[in-house]
Amino acid sequence: MISFDNVTKQYKNTSAPALDSITLNIEQGDFVFLVGASGSGKSSLLRLLLKEETATSGIVTVDGINVAKLRNRKVPAFRRTMGIVFQDFRLLPGKTVFDNVAFGMEVIGKPKSEIARKVPALLELVGLDEKSHRLPSELSGGEQQRVALARAFINQPKLLLADEPTGNLDPATSVGIMKLLDRINRIGTTVIMATHDVAIVDQMRKRIVQMENGRIVRDQERGMYGHTGQ
């Protein structure tokens, strides 16, 4: 579903490339942890997938689409095929929980009746059906992240990108978010999650891609965060 073929990303005014000849394949339905220190290239990799950046060399393919060749005009439509969750939740502050989740459908012009049907169902799934008329500022961090997950998943994307989704949450809350991500993955959605969270990675036992200085230093099925023996 996703392939990086010898991809290098060199930002302007920097000596070392952010991504250095990366080759990586991810199949439909995979759950991949992207681990590594800050600056190791995790974010650059996600940005390439979103076409927020374009690779300096090499080919990035998502669902059969060569991302580099995508016209600017087509980028919004391309992004709608994936769901995105961020560390800082990125909810629209002036909108209620319901409207935040509905927003993902509003921007693609879904009819009101469909929105009225799907949003409450999804809010129930993430356990926030009671709070649909609250504003994001009235929610806890874990609740906000569940709203963000609901928004990311509202159009049933085939791919869900999560950039340190538990980075601002306490361990107990993080477990709840991971359960949701696991559930989304189990119905066939590809999930790529960049994280530092050792406990979560070790607990989930999923595929691990570890990065260091822009290179992939480990790609292991059912891995643990630390190196073998640690």
């Binding site: 919004p76 095929t81 629209l92 927003f103 921007v107 693609i108 012009g109 928004r151």
Partner: protein, 303 residues
């Protein structure tokens, strides 16, 4: 891509409410600058109308020699044969010369008496002091030179006067005023453009987080930019409406109620002419804001 109307309306309404003071400033600025544009257009229409009206009535006066004339074409009072010759020359200038009237000293004196009735000046003027003349109507007032060159060295002609020159001096003043109004209008429009750009920039900055979120959720450029543009357009429409109301009020309360009854010899612009300016103002107001806001958004909401 289709977006539901109610969704856009809500987004625009929220934006205006949050940016209220800037929106008010924008409305006032659009209203003032467009009112000036409207005033300049009205003045041009007024000048054109007066030109058409008065040029139609303009005559060329050919004053004939009297006993005190000193022009080199004069040898005392004009003789009958000289007068007949002048009339013949005028007649040969058809079709440039369309009508010829003769005005004797006595006619001129009677006219003078009428104009200066009750004035002390009358006592000092005798019919002899006023020269006899031919009054000539031209097919086009601009053809004055033709008549002048044909007559300036003919015996018995003292001087030739083009009434248009008198009028033109007056029109020049009006034109000066008009250029001033245009200059002020252009300056105001420029200020309006800057104000639109600044308003958009401020609201784009205030909503940059929201915008980046929308973008990452896959909102298209148009759906991100449209609320901003529509906010500016709403302000422009209100401003244009105020400016239009202003010029209509000027026609009703100033021209029709005050000027026209007192200055009956001036033909004033009609309601049709005033109403024709209204759509121009709306088009200019909305057009300028759409262009200015699109350019600004392209710069500040890149993606």
């Amino acid at each position: 891509m289709i977006m539901r109307f109610s969704f856009i309306r809500r987004e625009v309404g929220n934006g205006i409410r949050r940016n209220f003071t800037m929106t008010v400033a924008l409305i006032v600025s659009v209203a003032v600058s467009l009112a000036l544009v409207g005033a300049a257009l009205l003045m041009r229409a007024q000048v054109d109308r007066m030109k058409g009206y008065w040029y139609d009535k303009i005559e060329v006066s050919i004053f004939l020699c009297g006993n005190t004339s000193v022009a080199f074409t004069c040898t005392g009072t004009v003789t009958d044969s000289q007068r007949n010759n002048i009339e013949a020359v005028l007649g040969s200038l058809a079709p440039t010369v369309q009508e010829i009237f003769y005005e004797s000293s006595q006619d001129a004196y009677e006219k003078f008496q009428e104009q200066f009735a009750g004035s002390a000046i009358l006592a000092n003027i005798s019919p002899d002091a006023l020269p006899e003349s031919f009054r000539v109507k031209l097919d086009d007032p601009a053809n004055f030179e033709k008549v002048a060159s044909a007559l300036q060295s003919v015996q018995g002609v003292e001087s030739i006067q083009d009434q248009r020159q008198l009028l033109d001096r007056f029109f020049q003043i009006l034109k000066g005023l008009q250029s001033f109004a245009v200059a002020v209008a252009i300056a105001m429009l420029f200020v309006t453009v800057l104000l639109v750009m600044n308003t958009i920039r401020v609201s784009a900055f205030a909503r940059r987080r929201e915008t980046s979120i929308k973008r990452s959720v896959g909102a298209s450029n148009i759906s991100i930019r449209l609320p901003f543009i529509l906010e500016a357009v709403v302000a422009a429409v209100i401003g244009s409406a105020l400016a239009s109301a202003g010029i209509l009020a000027a026609k009703y309360w100033v021209i029709d109620a005050r000027l026209a009854p007192n200055l009956t010899f001036i033909p004033f612009i009609t309601w049709e002419q005033v109403l024709a300016i209204v759509p121009v103002l709306f088009l200019a107001g909305v057009g300028i804001t759409v262009i200015a806001s699109s350019i600004t958004l392209r710069r500040y909401l890149r993606g």
